[in-house]
């Protein structure tokens, strides 16, 4: 091959390759993907769409044929406006997005604090997620399996089988006040897949929560802050304590998402002991001091 041929072939190759349109945008997004996204001033579905766009699209997280678990907070027998459970519109939008990315099934469940039938119904999550195409089912005690934790305080704990077997997990908490831990966000939301006597976790809470969360990290954490509960949490019940913040926070790192969300309440990592503990033990993927946080304000 002489030089001329080489140049011609290479030129044709480059031209051909660019005509076949490789995923430039995705490759680009991957290199510039922010550590976390903060989107505000929109309706739940708009917030989600904007955040996913910043993160490089849902297909960055969900592949064709995946079994996906979407874990909202629907622990309480409260209507959506009380901000005790994840916004049902947002849950539906996440389910739709996952199915759109080719997910085989999207499972939605939560081990509730109040009566499960009432929570599933009155949070309106069961209805809206089912319409969106999710497989919404009640938690069955027989489906918890003991998982080795080998943490500082917890050696093993029962975890829901469907959660462990899922290909991808989207952790979908609501941002709320909580007396014991200051706030409840993504890390605490994972308690909904834990079996056994969860009350036990409340003593030496931060340490135990980090112990367990360390072994069951989600693919993506989306914090619903469309409405946040500022007092009397995590049950709420008083509309005066609900603040409409119309915000959504997203990060592939559980701890980062929680860390960023503390700003909603004007708190720092030391005010919410479990976030501080998680950072101390290196559970965070990104250095919270040097976060690449993308802020978007919708028009």
């Amino acid at each position: 091959m002489n030089r001329r041929d080489f140049l011609a072939t290479t030129g044709a190759g480059v031209l051909g390759a660019s005509l076949l349109s490789p995923p430039w945008d995705r490759l680009l997004a991957q290199t510039q993907m922010p550590h976390a996204v903060w989107v505000e001033n929109g309706e739940p579905a708009q917030l989600l769409a904007a955040a996913l766009k910043e993160m490089g699209g849902i297909s960055h997280f969900i592949s064709r044929g995946d079994v996906v678990v979407v874990k909202p907070n629907m622990g309480w027998d409260r209507a959506p406006q009380y901000a005790a459970n994840t916004n049902p519109e947002l849950v539906a939008a996440v389910v739709t997005a996952c199915l759109g990315a080719g997910a085989k099934t999207v499972k939605v469940f939560d081990r509730t604090c109040n009566n499960p039938l009432r929570c599933y119904t009155n949070s309106q999550i069961e209805e809206k997620a089912k319409i969106a195409g999710a497989d919404v089912s009640q938690v069955r005690e027989s489906r918890f399996v003991n998982k080795a934790i080998n943490g500082e305080l917890i050696k093993e704990w029962p975890i829901y089988k469907d959660y462990l077997e899922a290909d991808k997990v989207i952790n979908l908490p609501i941002a709320k006040h909580h007396s014991l831990s200051g706030v409840t966000l993504g890390m605490k939301n994972l308690m909904g897949v834990m079996g056994g006597n969860r009350g036990d976790i409340h003593n030496n809470f931060a340490q135990k929560l980090v112990d367990i969360d360390r072994t069951i990290l989600p693919t993506l954490t989306i914090i619903d802050a469309y409405r946040i509960l500022t007092a009397n949490g995590p049950v709420g019940g008083n509309l005066a304590h609900v603040k409409q913040t119309r915000t959504l926070i997203m990060s592939p790192c559980l701890v980062t998402a929680d860390y960023v969300a503390l700003e909603l309440f004007g708190l720092g990592a030391d005010d919410a002991g479990f976030v501080g503990e998680a950072i101390k033990r290196g559970l965070n993927t990104y250095d919270v001091k040097k976060l690449n946080l993308r802020r978007v304000r919708l028009a």
Partner: protein, 523 residues
Amino acid sequence: MTANIRKVVQLLALGFFVVLFLLARYPYTERTEADIFLRFSPLIPLFDFIQHFRFSTLFWPALVILALTPFLGRFFCGWLCPLGTAIDAAGKVVKSPSNRFSGKWEKLRWLKFGILLGCILLALFSVNVWGYLDPLSIFNRALTVVFYPLGTLFVDQALLAAGRIPFLEDPAMFVYDTFKSLVMPETQAHHQGLLWIALFIGGILGLERLSRRFWCRNLCPAGAWLGFLSQFRMFERIVGEACPICNKCQTECKMDAIPGGDVKHTSKVECIDCFNCGKVCPPKVKAITYRWRWSPYHTPVDMTRRQVLQTSAGSLAALGLLQIGLPSKDSQTRQIRPPGALPEEQFADRCIRCLECVRICKSNGGCLQPDQIRSSLLELWLPVAAMREGYCEYNCNLCGIVCPTEAILPMTLQEKQHLPIGLAHFDKDLCIPFAQNSDCIVCEEHCPTPDKAIKFEIKEVLLPNGVKRKVKYPYVIRDLCIGCGICETKCPLPGQAGIFVTTENQKRAGATAPEPAANPYGG
């Protein structure tokens, strides 16, 4: 023919009863009226009248039955009563003997009138014993505590086991999901006092070993009341001249209502219109027909004056015995009744112990359980909140809505959320922050009132090892606590809870709380 129609109606009535039972759960709309079959009980209007001198339209189904009975006789027993149908089924299983062998029990017939009379006499003194013996109440109680939990346990386990067989997995799980959505959306029910309720229904069904419809012939006060009303019933069994007196109808009669030596007669007090006599009459003869007669003959009630006196004396003694027990303050303090329950004495008088509230509570917070005998016999099987096992769901008011006799008054959700049924207290020897100087406050987390009734203060403590630590110490605010008991249910201690609810501060429906006694020392 008529006997076959009767069997179909019996099964339909039983099915209706069971369907209503299944419908008594969350989600529930008031139009469902799941308690309507319970209000068919013919005893309810009688005792409602004794209590209030009124005929309440609330009990219209029973009033319809009572209005028809003087003409038709005890058709309710033979055609509609679900307990009667269950007894018939049990008779098939344990092979009930014919009247040739069971005739000797005829002498016990008066007993049901004795029981009815005793119930009436006690009711005059506001003591409700009849509720324990009401057939619909008995059946609902057995369904709630015994049959339904037993059935769901077996079906649940069997389907899950079938689901583990590879080639059966899909069909088994399909059936399982259907079963879970239609029959058993809630978790497996467990009830206290199971033993006695199981023995009670087991005894009634087991008595079929002695004779057919033993309970209905000899013991049932509702049967006695309906029998009393049908002494002159106009719908009669007519035996034609062709009768060869083969005695087949006599030996096969479910109620032994055909006298041994006189097959042409029927005891109108006992006959339950089952039409078996017509069915067993030999095909060539067919001498038995049924007709209306405008001048009916009379069958007297089977009770001698001596028996009336014995029963009255016995009832009086029972009444006395019920009064002289020691009312224990200790046990009364844990007797938390459902929200909207009438003041205790009226409540015990009005409640028929059908446990419909216990049933519907299971699909909600699940605190209600049949009560035990603590200090008085009459506490047995009243609903009581066992709050270590379940709590009163803040957004639920269904127990009052399904109560057939309004012993628990129906309330709006808002009324219910402001009516305290008790008050929570900390047991500081057990509660984790106090006993272990370590954070917990799971109770505070679950407290459902819009302004939490459990609050906490943060105090610094010096631990034995010299370390200082800030701990959250919870306390109860009396004016905010409604006694729902979710704190007691969710307390993470393995055994006895560090917080418990007592009847203190409870407010009963239809009554204002008693004024606290004045302090004799002027403080």
